[in-house]
């Protein structure tokens, strides 16, 4: 059944191939809306406006979410406010990046 959880699960399969963490762990997803008609609206950001992986990540989201049953449209709303900060990475992700070793 298509809902926010299944979309988030799909987004957790899309990795930033340079950082090595998925979009959920990185805290890049600000919101997910799923309409009754199957339209998925994702509000998200990137680590930086010059992120080298922007196109790859956008394509990855399209491929991963479009595989879900019942999806009729996907909208990715890329925003820079609030600006992403490392604090948005989950504790597990911070451990992977060695962020505790300041």
């Amino acid at each position: 059944m298509l809902n926010e959880t299944t979309v988030r699960d799909a987004l957790a399969t899309v990795y930033d191939p340079e950082i090595g963490l998925d979009l959920i762990t990185l805290g890049l997803i600000y919101g997910v809306d799923v309409s009754d008609a199957g339209a998925v609206e994702i509000r998200m950001t990137l680590t930086t406006p010059g992120c080298p992986m922007e196109r790859v990540i956008m394509d990855g989201i399209q491929h991963a979410v479009s595989k879900l049953d019942g999806v009729t449209a996907i909208g990715v709303n890329l925003v820079w406010d609030p600006r992403w900060s490392p604090d948005q990475i989950t504790p597990e992700g911070q451990k992977v990046l060695g962020m505790g070793r300041r």
Partner: protein, 435 residues
């Protein structure tokens, strides 16, 4: 299914920033790859050359073998890398597609024999080869400059990185013109055009005006991109203004033989370097990823080499050389510190980030979300990269001390270490292309 990549209330990216280091505007991979390949190969040859001509580096900077080796490094490795990086980065940083990819590809086959003939001309003291090589390399670089200029005129979105790029390419054009005049004068002494301190001006236009200022500019985008940190370019215009003024002071002062102007220029150029180093260190300190990989470590370490080179340059201009060290040796040590420690190590460090990315991008980007794909770090051997990094730092430290101390044998030992770092970079390139 309707698929949007940006929703209606999405705020646009800040103007003139890229969507990465590869976009739909990027050229065919084979265009930058041939120049990168030349850059890596020339770096390896130059470092092996240190083993051969080590003792000559403790003498005069105008020794033919030293000049040959210098041009393997500057023309082959540094200009090769710069041309590859410009063909890759101009479309994504300034959003301007390359005007003519065939011209970029064809001019490589003029540039390569030009570099080979020039180096052979220096090495064997053959004036004719030098003249032919300089002409071929000069034409190829002119074609590159025209190609980039027409690309920019085609619709670039201007920003401070573009200003650094234009300044750098103007300096490259001036350096190459001066170099050609010198080479042709050498080949035809009867019609020689005497320019006071031509080699000093040529060297600073190429090393500081072209390579260093270009690195300063692109680093304001690449360090944040690779270290995952916020961009910090509000002082970038100041760095460019100081750098340009400093370069003009050194060049005009040398031409008119005004020591005071050269000294002032050296101080202003050093201030530009210090300001950039401050920004670069701030970006590194604010990085998200605390653990530095070998590529970023090259760039980080290069900041220290830059400060040392700037101090050595100021000391050279002001005559503050420690007693007992001949000026020529100091000048060579200064050139090696700046050219290898800053320009080469920064270039190699950023290459260690860009090359795996490009190789990964061209093989796997279309599969993301469809199939399990490796991460970029999975197609990269960190042990090999780290061994190259440490060999490079140790090799350069030994080389600088050995040149100052006048020990040719130690310079040759340093050459072995530096050659290993070049070999590791070549190995990384081949591995990432094969995986």
């Amino acid at each position: 299914m309707a698929i949007l990549t940006r929703g209606p209330d999405a705020k646009p990216n800040p103007p003139a920033r890229s969507g990465g280091i590869a976009t739909e505007r990027s050229p065919e991979f084979s265009l930058p790859l041939r120049y990168f390949g030349l850059g890596v190969a020339a770096y390896l040859v130059a470092m092996l050359g240190l083993v051969l001509v080590g003792p000559a580096l403790t003498g005069s900077p105008w020794n033919p073998r030293v000049l040959g080796l210098t041009h393997v490094m500057t023309l082959g490795a540094i200009v090769g890398m710069i041309m590859g990086a410009a063909y890759q980065m101009v479309p994504v940083v300034l959003l301007a597609p390359i005007w003519s990819q065939p011209l970029g590809k064809a001019s490589f086959w003029v540039f390569l024999p030009g570099v080979l003939a020039m180096v052979a001309g220096f090495w064997f003291s053959q004036a004719a080869w030098l003249g032919i090589g300089a002409t071929l390399a000069g034409f190829a670089i002119a074609a590159f400059l025209v190609n980039i200029a027409l690309s920019l005129l085609k619709g670039a979105q201007w920003n401070v990185v573009g200003a650094f790029l234009v300044t750098s390419l103007l300096a490259l054009g001036a350096a190459v013109s001066l170099g050609m005049i010198r080479a042709l004068s050498y080949a035809n002494p009867a019609g020689a055009w005497v320019i006071p301190n031509a080699m000093t001006i040529h060297a600073h236009l190429a090393a500081f005006g072209c390579a260093t200022l270009l690195i300063f500019g692109v680093s304001y985008r690449l360090i944040p991109m690779f270290a995952v940190t916020a961009e910090r370019d509000h002082r970038a215009w100041g760095v460019l203004a100081l750098g340009t003024l400093g370069l003009l002071g050194i060049a005009c002062g040398s031409f008119h033989q005004l020591d005071g102007l050269v000294r002032a220029g050296a101080l202003v150029a050093a201030a530009s370097a210090a300001l950039w180093a401050w920004d670069a260190l701030a970006m590194f300190r604010a990085r998200t990823r605390r653990t530095l990989d070998a590529g970023l470590s090259y760039v980080y370490a290069a900041i220290a080499w830059l400060i040392l080179a700037a101090a050595m340059g100021v000391a050279l201009a002001w005559g503050w050389i420690p007693p007992g060290i001949p000026t020529d040796r100091w000048a060579i040590a200064y050139a090696v510190t700046g050219m290898v420690g800053f320009i080469t190590f920064t270039t190699i460090g950023q290459f260690h980030k860009i090359m795996p990315f490009l190789a990964w991008y061209h093989r796997y980007s279309s599969l993301v979300g469809k199939a399990k794909v490796p991460l970029i770090k999975d197609i990269y051997d960190p042990k090999l990269a780290w061994s190259g990094f440490w060999a490079a730092q140790a090799g350069l430290a030994v080389a600088v001390v050995a040149i100052l101390a006048g020990s040719g044998l130690a310079v040759q030992a340093a050459g072995l270490l530096l050659a290993w770092s070049a070999l590791a970079t070549a190995g990384m390139t081949i591995q990432t292309l094969k995986r």
